[in-house]
């Protein structure tokens, strides 16, 4: 059965009320998490035993959390527009990563295909010692 799990807003103002909303989540990085990630992308590098690949924190953990803020969409189509990441410290097996996501920016743009929204999410990732390991920004295009 085809389902659509997304929420929709009736007006732009309704979407704007979500600006600044945050969501926190934590994840324990054990060997299973590292292995599942490496198996999925096909990365057999032996470096990823006690250290997690940098792609893990940014790509594997971020999606669900930021989306769980539950910001409604205005238009039917939505795709990822772009993303950037800055890595400060390696993540080690046994670390607990605390992530804070924020719906931080909303831009309204006109295009020849009609209006579109750029929805920007910023996330920061800290380890159990409070050290910042990475920050990231993800942009969703809704049109």
């Amino acid at each position: 059965m085809t389902t659509d799990s997304r929420k929709f807003a009736k007006t732009l103002d309704e979407v704007k009320t979500y600006l600044g909303k945050k969501r926190e989540e934590s994840m324990e990085i054990d060997g299973t998490v590292i292995r599942a990630y490496c198996e999925c992308i096909g990365d057999p590098n032996p470096m990823w035993k006690d250290t997690a690949p940098p792609g893990l924190v940014t790509t594997a953990m971020i999606s669900s959390g930021a989306m769980l803020i539950g910001v409604p969409l205005l238009y039917k189509r939505s795709v990822a527009g772009g993303a950037d990441w800055e890595f400060f410290k390696p993540i080690k097996k046994g670390d607990t990563i605390h992530t804070s996501h924020e719906f931080s920016e909303l831009q309204e743009k006109a295009s020849d295909k009609g209006p579109r929204l750029l929805m920007v999410y910023k996330s920061s990732h800290k380890n159990q010692k409070g050290e910042l390991v990475a920050i990231s920004t993800n942009t969703i295009m809704n049109y």
Binding site: A36, P53, G55, R77
Partner: protein, 141 residues
């Protein structure tokens, strides 16, 4: 894998290409690993309602391939410091994707040996569907 050193890197050089062919199975694995259960990536009927002929490969999975491109190249002593991507095109399961990179600049800053790269995912039609850039620090001999 041999360690690459800052001394040996030349501006304009290509780094070794990765080949990836994500399948429906890969997309399901990725959904589970990432928690991204957006129907666009596993429900073909849903994808059609959004105007696509098939489910789409997750943009973030392509980004993960690009981080692997960089970590494979930078080796154990190299550090990936920054990466950014733009999702401009679509990839579909079963397509062979080429994950590529080219050195654009090298310099020393704050006692680090910095290399800047242009990176991208190329689809079978030769289009750069996910272009981006990266900054990597490499060891010196």
């Amino acid at each position: 894998m041999a360690q690459v050193y800052f001394d040996d890197v030349k501006e304009g050089q290509d780094i070794p290409t990765l080949e990836k062919t994500p399948t429906n199975r890969t997309l399901v694995q990725w959904a589970g690993a990432s928690g991204d259960f957006f129907e666009l990536h596993y429900d073909k009927e849903f994808a059609k309602t959004m105007g696509y002929p098939n489910v789409l490969v997750h943009g973030r999975l392509e980004a993960a391939y690009l981080t692997q491109l960089l970590t494979d190249w930078a080796g154990e002593k190299g550090v990936v410091k920054k990466m950014s991507v733009q999702y401009r095109g679509n990839a579909f399961p079963g397509q062979k994707l080429l994950i590529k990179g080219k050195v654009t600049k090298k310099y020393q800053k704050d006692n680090e040996n910095i290399v800047e790269l242009e990176i991208f995912v190329e689809n079978p039609e030769g289009q750069k569907i996910t272009p981006g850039s990266a900054i990597v620090a490499l060891p010196k001999k």
